[in-house]
């Protein structure tokens, strides 16, 4: 075990995989000489050289398209999009090409690539450095979408993503990069994609969330515990595929689901979870399914702590649910 920040855990996963497998290459804007604007690729250029760590032109569509070509031709590329807000420059590549690649060529060529992108708010980043665009991609067959929330998961899930035979979009909650540290297993360490993490056990209300809001959910759970409400918190860790077993087990126990994410409410991933709970577990419910999310506005620069699903908003939703 070594104490690592989230950013260092990403760096450790990349280094570990690049040492283990020479097919793994890294490309993106400022990932080489500069080591990435969040320092996630620091030191990789020195260790692995310019053939495996490529500073690219400022060209999101080419970064994603080139990564796909590398993947189709036997490499294991990990491309970085500097902010998930800039991923839309490569949206067509992701949706029309990467996602449909295996299907279009009926398995003749595969697309084992990872697109890493910092996601989410809480860093005073304004509308183009704070967005949570995951739903655009969870609505596209052929992609996997992963959002880790701890340094250990960041390492274990990124290694799994690199070894996965399909394209994975790997969203890294940027406000966690340097704000927390924990013991991370050394060496070989994987976390399976598609398995949720039970963050906290409880019996009255289930909070289902992912990414940075896991911490807000835990803080809210601790607060309402003083009022006698016992809250279970589930960190989904990956959205496609998602761990329905973990959700249904908990909802059967509590009957009171509250879904939390930073992305805007309408058509957010929470709608998918809510609909599936309604389809399959309606008779387990003791209270309406509630959502605490970003609002349907562009991400605001000012008052972002009010816009985000913060501890108070989550605690209020838990109280509302428990009152039923």
């Amino acid at each position: 075990m070594t104490v690592l920040t989230f950013a260092k855990a990403i760096n450790e996963a990349l280094r570990y995989e690049m040492r283990r497998d020479e097919r793994v290459v890294v490309l993106g804007e400022d990932v080489g000489v500069n080591g990435g604007v969040f320092r996630c690729t620091e030191g990789l250029l020195v260790e692995f050289g310019p053939k495996r760590v490529m500073d690219t032109p400022l060209s999101e569509s080419a970064i994603i398209g080139v990564a796909l070509g590398l993947a189709a031709n036997g490499m294991r590329p990990v491309a970085e999009i500097q902010f998930s807000d800039f991923i839309f420059g490569g949206f067509e590549q992701l949706v029309s090409n990467v996602a449909k690649f295996r299907y279009r060529n009926a398995g003749h060529y595969a697309a084992p690539l990872v697109i890493r992108a910092p996601v989410g708010g809480g860093v005073r980043g304004g509308m183009y450095h704070s967005q949570s665009p995951e739903s655009y991609f969870t609505n596209t067959a052929g992609l996997k979408v992963v959002v880790p929330s701890t340094p250990s998961d960041a390492k274990g899930l990124l290694i799994s993503a690199i070894r996965d035979d399909d394209p994975v979009i790997f969203f890294e909650p940027k406000r966690l990069y340097h704000s927390l540290k924990e013991d991370v297993p050394d060496g070989e360490y994987t976390v399976p994609i598609g398995k949720a993490r039970l963050v906290r056990e409880g019996s009255d209300v289930t909070v289902i969330t992912y990414g940075a809001t896991v911490y807000d959910a835990v803080a809210a759970a601790e607060e309402v515990e003083k009022e006698g409400i016992s809250v279970e918190v589930i960190d989904l860790r990956s959205l496609i595929p998602y761990d329905w077993e973990a959700i249904s087990r908990s909802v059967r126990k509590t009957g009171r689901p509250v879904i939390v994410h930073e992305a805007q409410k309408t058509s957010g991933f929470g709608a998918e979870i809510a609909a599936t709970i309604a389809e399959r577990e309606i008779y387990s419910l003791e209270a309406p399914i509630l959502r605490v999310t970003g609002y349907d506005t562009p991400y605001p620069l000012v008052h972002e702590h009010l816009y985000l699903p913060n501890k108070d908003r989550i605690a209020n939703a838990i109280r509302k649910s428990a009152a039923h």
Binding site: L70, R102, R104, H108
Partner: protein, 364 residues
């Protein structure tokens, strides 16, 4: 030195040089001509099959055969092709059997792409990566594919084909720009057939040529007579050789003309004149090659007639066979989404299986 400012043609010259002066042997010229004829014959059949309702949509190659066949003949089997959606002549030149192209177009049980998409063709056995329909999106992917060759030190080449319309898209510029920095072994071939559906190339760019766009990226561009299989072959051969040996990426503009419609859903009479079409009919790439071979005594009239008859009979026999094949199982629609289906997809597959069972029961 050659460059984009020169229009490279052989058959377009008033007195084309003899095959010996070009260093071309009879066997190669006859192979080239047979591929041109085969492309045209199969193209006609596919168009007919679409009209019969057997093929969902078809994009004709009529008029562009020389640009396809001439360039693809200069490739090696280990080189990799990223076509667009109209390169029938490229597939045939790569050695793809007629039967497989028919399986693909008719979506028979042997369709190599399992009916997942129409019009496009691809098969890893022939190093052809199937195209996406969104125009130009194959270009950056081809660059990445070539980059892997460079990283591993393999002397192989990626070639990507696209139309004049594609040069207006960001992916053309992003792809060629990326290639100009990392210099992987790639050749960009623009089949400038002068129309993107109804829009003339003069509405795609204010530049006089497509080839000159290479200059801004620090690369070479060549402008070639795309209705001249020999010119296309000779230029491609020397460019491919150079790039395979570590030369910079190159852009080749093949100036040709789409004699047919954009696809079977298009009516070109709405946007171009008969005179214009007649002008290009007179420069039909196959007729040009035919008269060259006859005038240079490479081939006789009788031999030509026999070749056409042989090819027509071959294609028509293959069409008969393909039409008799059964179609694909409905469950194929769930295949190849992921290496392993997700739990969510597995559940939907089960739902679909039950839907199929119900339908069978309803039909009795």
């Amino acid at each position: 030195m050659r460059g984009w400012w020169e229009f490279i043609t052989i058959l377009g010259k008033r007195r084309p040089p003899d095959p010996e002066d070009l260093g071309l042997e009879r066997e190669l010229l006859m192979r080239m001509y047979r591929l041109l004829v085969l492309t045209r014959a199969l193209d006609r059949y596919l168009l007919r099959l679409q009209r019969m309702g057997k093929v969902a949509l078809y994009a004709e190659s009529l008029g562009e055969e020389a640009a396809m066949v001439g360039s693809a003949l200069a490739l090696r089997p280990e080189d990799v092709v990223f076509p667009s959606y109209r390169e029938l002549g490229v597939y045939l030149t790569r050695g793809v059997p007629i039967s497989e192209i028919l399986d693909r177009q008719l979506n028979t049980v042997d369709d190599p792409l399992k009916g997942h998409e129409f019009a496009v063709f691809g098969d890893s056995r022939f190093n052809i990566v199937p195209a996406p329909t969104p125009v130009a999106t194959q270009i950056p992917v081809a660059v990445g594919y070539a980059l892997a060759f460079k990283i591993r030190g393999e002397r192989r080449l990626a070639v990507t084909y696209f139309g004049d319309g594609a040069t207006s898209k960001g992916d053309f510029h992003e792809g060629i720009n990326f290639a100009s920095v990392y210099k992987p072994p790639i050749v960009f071939i623009c089949l400038n057939n002068q129309y993107a559906i109804s829009t003339h190339v003069s509405r795609q760019t204010g530049a006089a040529t497509i080839a000159q766009k290479a200059i801004a990226y620090g690369l070479s561009g060549y402008r070639v007579d795309g209705n001249d299989a020999i010119a296309m072959y000779l230029v491609s051969r020397s460019v491919f050789e150079e790039v395979r040996e570590g030369g910079d990426p190159v852009l080749i503009e093949a100036v040709t003309y789409r004699l047919g419609a954009h696809t079977t859903s298009d009516d070109p009479k709405r946007y171009r004149s008969e005179e214009e079409v007649r002008y290009w009919m007179e420069r039909d790439p196959i007729e040009r090659m035919r008269s060259y071979l006859i005038s240079k005594n490479v081939m006789g009239e009788e031999e030509d007639k026999a070749l056409w008859a042989e090819v027509e009979a071959l294609v028509s026999a293959e069409v008969e066979k393909a039409l008799a094949k059964p179609g694909l199982d409905p469950m194929v629609i769930f295949e190849d989404v992921y290496a392993e289906p997700t739990p969510q997809l597995r559940e939907q597959m089960e739902e679909f299986r039950q839907q199929l069972r119900m339908e069978r029961v309803m039909r009795g």
